[in-house]
């Protein structure tokens, strides 16, 4: 029997991968992809929790998370394009310099 712990460990690992990507990748696109990875690990927890508790709220929540992820990806990538157009790069190090 696959217990919820299995899923939680897997989700933890995915979240960790996403965190590492967000912290250490310099390409803004990769950062956004890592965020998708983190959102997915959360989704996995929601679905496995939904099965454990016999409660469908978790699955509805996943649906909302996917909606939010779509909006986030759309706006986030629009910003990537705008930044690229203005500065010609999507390197986070460079963009950080602008902060002053």
């Amino acid at each position: 029997m696959v217990s919820i712990n299995h899923y939680l460990v897997l989700a933890t690992f995915m979240f960790l991968c996403g965190t590492l990507g967000v912290l250490f990748r310099r390409n803004l696109l990769l950062v956004l992809m890592s965020i998708e990875l983190m959102l997915n690990s959360v989704n996995l927890v929601f679905v496995s929790g939904s099965r454990l508790l016999g409660n469908l709220d978790g699955q509805v929540m996943v649906f909302f998370i996917i909606t939010v992820a779509a909006c986030e990806a759309g706006v986030g990538l629009a910003m990537v394009i705008a930044l690229f157009r203005r500065y010609g790069t999507v390197d986070t190090n460079f963009l950080r310099i602008l902060r002053g």
Partner: protein, 116 residues
Amino acid sequence: MNPYLPVLIVLLLGVGLGGILSGLAHFAGPRKPNRIKSEPYECGVPIVGERDKMSVKFYLTAILFILFDIETVFLYLWAMTFRELGWFGIGEIVVFLAVLFAGYVYVVKRGALEWD
């Protein structure tokens, strides 16, 4: 039997078949590469210019696609529960669509869908 088992079988079969076709291309034919032959196709003349950067229009189309895709999924879920929800459901979905339609009108007014 798990209903998803056939999905797995077809997936493996499809990947296998694609792989076989790819492999055939590799091993069945002759292989005599030379520099001119493997240049990217340009109607036989030397390559002019760089690979163009694509227009931002494609991106705008894709983002609109995502957002309307989500809407379609909401609508599928609603269509499944339609008989149960009845007029209440119609009211819900009309509000939902009205809001989205406002966004759609903005998109059209702003000319994001014009290709020129």
